[in-house]
Symmetry: C2
Subunit: 357 residues, 2 copies
């Protein structure tokens, strides 16, 4: 991993001899290991992956440099033994991802261990994508877009939300995705008022809107997009709201560049929607970073003071959700470039583009 | 939830006024809430679900009795405010599922709070299935079996592991599953030596074995099965190993009844495989409980002293994995009955049943 050297500098900085990585995605980011139920210990010298019988062969193939430790009685026992053997006195841990139980067990089993609860060390490096990561994200977008295009003739009167989600999932996979990035959301009509609706048995009818929020995972990197389809006759209320969301997204995207605060981008979209009278119906943040995790930093919301940097990739997804009426969300992926941003996703989204007759 | 009253008795037992449930599946088990990123607070009176804008409408539909608290600044802030308002002094927390960060923040924000790190309170209730839960598991098995049967003609020379996994995933869904219980494992030939291999581009050829480990999720309940197919000409070594695994499974199943220790069941299969000379190649536990989680208690392994009880449902899945050669695993689901056990999964598995000519 490109950033391993940088990440290990945190050991020196904190005067620690070990960094216990318990978050599965951070483990994969650093080591390339693609299994689960494992823990990584970084030290100034060797790095150790604690895993079980199921993953020993795979772990060595995923990363020939790493020392694999197969657990005997329990993962934590093996870890504690190694900490003692290496005479680690000060250990960095990931405070979001180490449980009270793991923390207490290490404290109990390793005399005089001093654990430092760190926050987001590896997550911070993950925000700015390398060229190789960017290529995988772009491929994940390309697959998602092709799959969406290929199921357009399946979005028709009489099919259910779940029918659409199931066929889209299959198309993503046969086009090369490992799987969906997340459970596909397909919400017909008023179901779309729930931003995270589960696809159900509701059937598409004339006059409905169909909101689809989907993405594909390619070599562990994700995409995340949302588009709506309108089924013939659409209300003027829908047209009005759709255009507001589209304009809010466009205004926000226009402001994205290195050096600007995340919350400033959120404010641009939020203030526009507010000005148009729908402020109370846009309850979530404007966007989120994406990579090996579907939701990761930088978070584009009203609180985040973080300054955007070149190489960050995130969603821009304003929405208006009205209970018992429905919802509109439009979501694209952008890359912060040296001077501004590039919209990575290309599917059409003008009102005139989204109607199915 | 049937067990809510029982679970709340733990409050009285521990002299606590609140139980903070942070594990997503425990939250769903108790409250019926089907979203994510939320926390449940049980008290002797009302129960509170702390969630965000995306899930407010859904949460109320999922459980009209529960009090929904929409987070303002952060989930933990809202929780701490409520703890203070309810004057909770002693709070049960889930030690496996509360992070050091959450623990410390509550401690810091709520003066004199005493948190008790509990282990597996709700998980213990989850082990014995109610009739309603059992019905859902049986449906999840039925869908998995039908889907497997329906793709038999797709397992043929030239197709890849991923082709098989993708079509099986689609069949599960169109037969009524929400999705796969876990990423389907499809391992051709020597790939099966890794118990958790990822489906890749390897193509099925004459003389290959094809191991498939799959399951379906139905109304949040899971199934988990493993079968092998043999492609025409099969080595005598494979026949021998397959029969050993099949016999080990059968011997273990014969011992399952209420009152016996989990580790005793594991020992029966393990000792048989050892006696036949393959002990070193069976590195994982014999089985695991299944329900809303694919892996949950009771764990059937060589360490677990737990006594089996009526209503428990778990896998029985002995295996022999030989690096550079391949692997055999046969996995079925059993229910502990009043006097013995019932094998819930029915797919044929005799050597003569599994060959594709």
């Amino acid at each position: 991993m490109d950033n391993l050297g940088e990440i290990k500098k945190n050991l020196e900085r904190e005067g620690a001899e070990g960094f216990l990585v318990t978050n599965e995605i951070n483990i994969r980011y650093i080591s390339g290991f693609t299994g689960s139920d494992s823990v990584l210990l970084l030290t100034p010298g060797n790095d150790y992956l604690f895993t079980d019988f199921r993953y020993v062969e795979q772990a060595q193939q995923d990363n020939p440099k790493i020392k694999i430790v197969e657990k005997k009685t329990s993962l934590l026992n093996s870890i504690c033994e190694k900490i003692k053997k290496l005479k680690i006195k000060k250990l960095l841990v990931e405070s979001f991802y180490i449980s009270i139980d793991q923390f207490n067990e290490i404290k109990q089993k390793v005399n005089n261990i001093h654990m430092i609860a760190t926050k987001g060390i590896i997550e911070n490096y993950r925000k700015q994508k390398t060229k190789d990561e960017l290529k995988k994200i772009q491929k994940a977008i390309e697959i998602a877009e092709k799959a969406y295009a290929s199921i357009q003739n399946k979005i028709k009167y009489g099919v259910t939300e779940k029918d659409i989600a199931d066929i889209l999932e299959y198309e993503l996979r046969i086009l090369g995705a490992e799987k969906s990035s997340f459970d596909i959301i397909c919400a017909v009509g008023k179901h779309a008022s729930k931003p995270h609706a589960h696809p159900a048995t509701t059937r598409v009818q004339r006059g409905d809107t169909v909101l689809i929020d989907w993405g594909s995972r390619f070599q562990y990197y994700n995409s995340d997009l949302t588009r709506l389809k309108t089924m013939d006759k659409i209300s003027s209320k829908f047209r009005k709201i759709y255009q507001i969301v589209l304009d809010a997204q466009s205004l926000a995207i226009d402001c994205i560049r290195p050096g600007i605060k995340a919350k400033k981008i959120d404010a641009v979209a939020r203030n526009y929607i507010k000005k148009k009278g729908f402020g109370e119906f846009f309850g979530h943040g404007l966007g989120h970073g994406i990579g090996q995790e579907v939701h990761e930093g930088p978070y584009i919301n009203k609180k985040n003071n973080e300054i955007l940097k070149e190489g960050m990739v995130f969603t821009v997804e304003p929405g208006i959700y009205i209970p018992e009426w429905g919802g509109v969300r439009i979501e694209d992926l952008v890359l912060v470039t040296q001077t501004g941003c590039e919209v990575l996703s290309k599917l059409p989204k003008k009102l005139s583009d989204i109607n199915i007759n």
